[in-house]
Symmetry: C2
Subunit: 220 residues, 2 copies
DNA sequence: ACCTGAACACCGTTCAAGT
DNA sequence: ACCTGAACACCGTTCAAGT
C-alpha cells in the first residue's frame, strides 16, 4: 500500500477518506474494504467506525473527495471558457480515478464539494445571462455528456497494446463478420496511428457549447 | 423473490442471467449474491459455477441482458429518427434497471447484444452518408450523452415526495446559504409543479442531433 | 453431465471491554 | 474520547464426492 509505514497520526475522517481514495486508485474499488483500509492506516478495522458511520458513508466520501479535485475556474470567466475548463478538468480527474464514475451513479447523498461544484457551475451560467430554465438545460446537458464520456473512458484500455489485445479477444469470442460496421471503424479509424478516443471529447464539447450559445442568444 | 416457487427447470446460462437481472431489479446490486441467486433458482450456490465462470461473468452477462432490451429501429429509418428512438429506448431501459448504468463503467468485455447494438448504430450512420470519422464523432457524442443522463437519473428519486425529502435532508446537513444558485434553481424551477428532470433529455438530444446534422452536411 | 456438502479465506458490523 | 478483541452472519469460490 502507498503509505503503510508512518508514525500513527490520530485518525480523522479526512485521513480515512484520503486513504480510501489511495486504495481505490491502486487496487480498484474491489480492493477497498474496511479491513484493507484499516491496514493502510495501521489501525484495527473497528476504529474506523469512530469516524465514519459505515462503508456507504466512505463511498459517499470518496466521491466527494474526487469532486474536490475538479478545478472550477474563476467566477468572472466567460461562460464558454468556464464550462470548457471544468469539463476538461472533470474528465481528467475521472481518468485518474476511473473507479469513481460508476460510483457517481449509485450515491444518493452528494457531499459538500459536489454541491459547491454544482453551485459554481449554475452561478457562472446565471451571471452570463442564462435564465433559470436555460441554466438547467445547460447544466443537465454538459454534466450528462461529461459523465457519460468518463463512463465510456473508464472501460477503455490505457495504452495501444492493450487495445489490440482486447480487440483480438473480441474477435476470438465472436465470428468477426457479425459486426461489419464495428470492424470497419476499428480497422480504418480506431486502430490507425494517431487515433485517440480522448480526442472525441473536445469535438462533442464544442458542438454542445455552440448549440447552447445559439439557444441562449435566442432565449432558450 | 419474484419467482422462487416453480418446478425446477434445468439450469442454463440464460436462466441464471434472467434471475440475476430480476434480483438486481428487486433488491439492487447489493442484493445480488451467488447465494441469493441460487436461492431464487432453487439450487445450491455451487451449481451456478457449471454455467458461469464466476460472479464477474454474471455481471458482464446482466449488462448484456439489459442491452438486449434497448430497441433499435429498422435499418432503413432515417438517421435522426433512428438515433432519437434508440436514445429514448436506452434511457427508458436504464430507468427500469438503474443498477445497470454504473456497471457499464466497470465492464471491460462487452457481450453479443452490446456489440450488435453498437454495430447497428454505426451501420445506420454510415448508410446515411456519415464518413467513418464523422460516425465515430456521432457515436461517441450520442452514447456519452445518453449514458451520462442515465447515470444522473439513476441517483434521482422517482417521485415528488421523495424529492422534497432529499432536498430537506440536504438543507439539514449544510447551511442553506452555502449554495445560493442551487437553492434558486431548486425553489424557482425544479420544485415547481410540472417540472420533470426527465424532460431535459429531449432538449439536449435535439440540440446534439441539430449539431450533428449541421456538421454532417458540411462533411465533419 | 450435472448437482451438492463441507470447508476456506474472506467480508461489514456489533458488542463489551479496555486505555 | 478513542481504540480494540472476539464474535456474528454473511460473502465468493474450491474440492472431492455424489447421481
Amino acid at each position: 500500500m502507498t503509505q503503510a509505514v508512518q508514525e500513527r497520526a490520530p485518525l480523522t475522517r479526512e485521513r480515512v477518506l484520503a486513504a480510501a481514495t489511495a486504495i481505490a486508485d491502486a487496487e480498484g474499488l474491489a480492493g477497498l474494504t474496511m479491513r484493507s483500509l484499516a491496514r493502510e492506516l495501521c489501525v484495527q478495522p473497528m476504529s474506523l467506525y469512530h469516524h465514519v458511520a459505515n462503508k456507504e458513508e466512505i463511498l459517499d466520501g470518496v466521491v466527494d473527495v474526487v469532486f474536490t479535485q475538479i478545478h472550477f475556474p474563476a467566477d468572472d470567466l466567460d461562460w464558454r471558457r468556464a464550462m470548457r475548463e471544468r469539463a476538461d478538468s472533470a474528465r481528467a480527474v475521472f481518468r485518474r480515478h476511473p473507479w469513481a464514475i460508476g460510483l457517481v451513479g449509485t450515491r444518493t447523498s452528494p457531499g459538500l464539494a459536489t454541491l459547491q461544484h454544482h453551485d459554481a457551475v449554475i452561478g457562472n451560467l446565471r451571471r452570463a445571462g442564462f435564465s433559470v430554465p436555460m441554466a438547467a438545460h445547460a447544466f443537465a446537458l454538459l454534466d450528462s455528456y461529461t459523465y457519460g464520456f468518463a463512463l465510456q473512458e473508464a472501460t477503455l484500455p490505457f495504452d495501444r497494446d492493450t487495445v489490440a489485445e482486447v480487440a483480438n479477444a473480441m474477435i476470438d469470442q465472436f465470428p468477426s463478420d457479425l459486426f461489419p460496421h464495428l470492424a470497419e471503424m476499428a480497422t480504418e479509424h480506431v486502430m490507425q496511428p494517431g487515433y485517440d478516443f480522448g480526442d472525441e471529447f473536445g469535438y462533442g464539447l464544442e458542438l454542445i457549447l455552440d448549440g447552447l450559445e445559439a439557444k441562449a442568444a435566442r432565449g432558450g
